[in-house]
Symmetry: C2
Subunit: 454 residues, 2 copies
């Protein structure tokens, strides 16, 4: 490790004292910081060394580096693997056989019952495949779940099929975010394939993280089918599944007393407002992020390029002066010009490194938040119905037993929605901690690593 | 001086060995770099200290800082006072009494005879004055030459008068750059007065640096008049000066053999092309500089502000979640938002610090370069006349003696133009070295000093 320090004031060495004369602005290498008595042993660029008063030196620090380092440390550390979200399970976790369950938990109210080891999968290795004797070609992705560790292959249209199934089955209770955009042009270009794979990975991770979705037959089929036959049979069964839409609530057994409907309504209202406001906030961030991205890769890059060109151009003109003794100036001007061209490239490449992940995460959240109005709508309509229960009994439309069943059903829906809210919040905190950390780490890397390369 | 280092890999201390356990990404303070054996004594943020392998640490360096430091060192050092330009005078400098002289010199050809100690002046202390019982008000600047050290007061219109005199007297031989713009609106605003003063200072410096201009009666009068009477008398005399325009060449005594007219023409052509190309280069740099300035103070500032606002906004929304345990995230998001707002301010203030001087110098050069076509035009016309000399003698328009006088006059003009070219080149090299150094130093200061403030 070599330390550099900058000289702040001129210092003249006293002869015979092993001191070093230094000039303001000079950069010296620190040989020994522990000489004591307020002295530091330093070496100048000509290789001469000696003592310099400590107060005459300062260490070069980059304020942006400091800024981002301090910031980065304020975010709580999270691990950066994909699906490692761990929600505290409380004591005595209880899982009810084949039905999805949830249970009341400490501070936050109802939560889903999370599996001890969370499901995860890796989407990788996109390969071009073809059928009908090469007439039709497509891209196949390898999906490997951490449970079987056995890869299965899927095309985009299979993911799309899975999405449709999940939406149909869970859409009333759980927001199922859309898949990354369908897109036909550039479908086989490397950049596009990489981007789509990354987004499919993100989508799969989110689904894996959801204890209800990830535990469903159709999701398990998608991840673990062993051969074409099993896949086709499973597909047919899933398409015939009748436990879809509101029916899904019948699978949930809260094993808990009915919730207070007033409190549930308030929470629901709060959450509804929250998701709307977060949606605005996320869209706002995406908007400025996009503008900044475009400015960095467009006008700003061009501007630094132009500054670089202007310096180099001036240098060329100066070279034609026919006047002697300006080689140092023209060389330096050319170097300055080249540095600015380099900076222009670095600036243009940066968004793909730092903004990219921030944008991707917020895009995912934009999709997710877009699902909530429907989920909440189903819920509100149901509560309305319970409210009208007495009238309906009076009008003879339903009997008291029906009303009781309805109330119980609503209670289950309430549990489910609240578990979903809590699932959303804990994921959100995890995701935003992670994305901010990655973003700031990239800022730090931006300033730091290039220093090592030079 | 405190040195920080960043931990690159995890390191587990062996018990009893005075070692320190550190984690990748952690920042430690270096207590002793000279422990030896590949070890460094470091302290972590909790105040614990111990030995860490040297290879596990790296020093934080900011690549931009490195870039600019390296660049800055490539430019030859020049002192940053105003008029300290020193042109080597060669041996045996010869000055002829009251006439302006020049002499041949080593590599570059004819140069003006420069005074041993260059003239300089300081324009400072703008004060509002008024006359006609306060009906008319104006700004008066204090001008103090380094020869008398006695300040004299001048209004802008006096500078303008001086400019007119110098243009009339020397315009055929020496490019006299225009004064900073006349401007009526905002004439008494602080910003404007400061800017005008700075530009008047720049203009005066350039005039002081010119050995012929600075030695003239009218320029000396402007700098050293002792009272209103002396000023008025001097003014009247200067306005009646008949040694103006081409007549000024009669004041120059090259005391040297006639120059080769072909060579002079070639040099003149080269210089003409050079000034045209430099003019383009300077305008180009001014253009991108202006665009960059506007982007920094306008869209870029707003963009960083918006990013900052978007983070803070998201933080506020998150605060309304009603979910427990996200205070760390929202605090960190708010901090990130505030940092970006701070960065936006810093970015917006930067051009005034770094670009400003680069722009001012190039603006000055734009003005100066604009004068050359006229100066060169006068010269070319004169050469043409000498060419026609024989014809004119044959046609009886002039006699042989006239032709000889004419040839001698042209020779003087050639000396003068070449001295002027050399004056321009040496000043240009000095100015651009200086301005690039200041510019790069400001870049370094931009990244560095804020580190100390924090």
């Amino acid at each position: 490790v070599t330390f550099f320090a900058q000289v702040m004031y001129d210092f003249s060495a006293e002869p015979g004292n092993n001191e070093l004369t230094v000039k303001e602005g000079e950069t010296v290498t620190v040989l020994n910081q522990n000489v004591g008595g307020g002295w530091i042993e330093a070496q100048n660029s000509r290789g001469e060394s000696g003592l310099v008063p400590e107060d005459y030196l300062q260490v070069s620090v980059c304020f942006l580096l400091l800024f981002f380092k301090q910031l980065c440390e304020t975010f709580p550390r999270v691990h950066c693997c994909c699906c490692c979200l761990q929600v505290a399970n409380g004591d005595n976790p209880w899982s009810g056989g084949g039905t999805y369950t949830n249970k009341t938990m400490g501070d936050v109210g109802p939560v889903w019952l999370y599996p001890q080891s969370p499901l995860d999968c890796v989407v990788a290795d996109p390969k071009k495949g073809s059928k009908m004797y090469g007439l039709k070609s497509y891209i196949e992705y390898q999906v490997t779940p951490n449970t079987t560790n056995r890869p299965v292959n899927h095309r985009y249209k299979h993911f799309d099929w899975l999405y449709e199934r999940l939406l149909e089955k869970f859409g009333s209770a759980i927001p199922i975010p859309s898949l990354p955009d369908k897109q036909v042009t550039g479908r086989f270009e490397e950049e596009f394939i990489k981007m789509r794979m990354e987004r499919l990975q993100g989508w799969m991770c989110r689904m894996c993280r959801h204890p209800v979705v990830s535990n469903s037959d159709v999701f398990q089929l998608f991840l673990t089918y062993r051969d074409e036959k099993e896949w086709k049979t499973g597909k047919r069964r899933a398409e015939k599944d009748e436990c879809v839409g509101p029916m899904v609530f019948s699978l949930i057994d809260p094993e808990a007393p009915e919730l207070d409907i007033i409190e549930v309504e308030q929470k629901c209202e709060l959450f509804s407002r929250f998701t709307k406001e977060m949606d605005d906030g996320v869209k706002d961030l995406l908007n400025v992020g996009n503008i900044h991205w475009k400015r960095c890769t467009g006008p700003l890059r061009k501007e630094y390029q132009k500054i670089g060109k202007a310096f180099q151009n001036l240098s060329s003109v100066f070279n034609t002066s026919g006047y002697t003794g300006e080689a140092t100036l023209t060389d330096a001007l050319t170097a300055a010009g080249k540095t600015y061209e380099e900076i222009s490239q670095i600036v243009a490449e940066q968004p793909r490194k730092d903004l990219h992940f921030l944008m991707e995460t917020n895009n995912e959240y934009k999709g997710l938040l877009g699902c909530f109005p429907d989920t909440i709508g189903v819920h509100k309509a149901a509560i309305e119905k319970v409210r009208e229960g007495d009238k309906m009994v009076a009008a003879g439309k339903i009997n008291t037993q029906d009303k009781g069943t309805m109330a119980k059903r609503i209670s289950i829906m309430c549990y489910s929605l609240q578990a979903e809210m809590n699932h959303f919040h804990s994921n959100r905190i995890y995701d935003y901690n992670r994305v901010m950390q990655l973003y700031l780490e990239e800022q730090i890397r931006f300033y730091e690593t290039r220093g090592r390369i030079l």
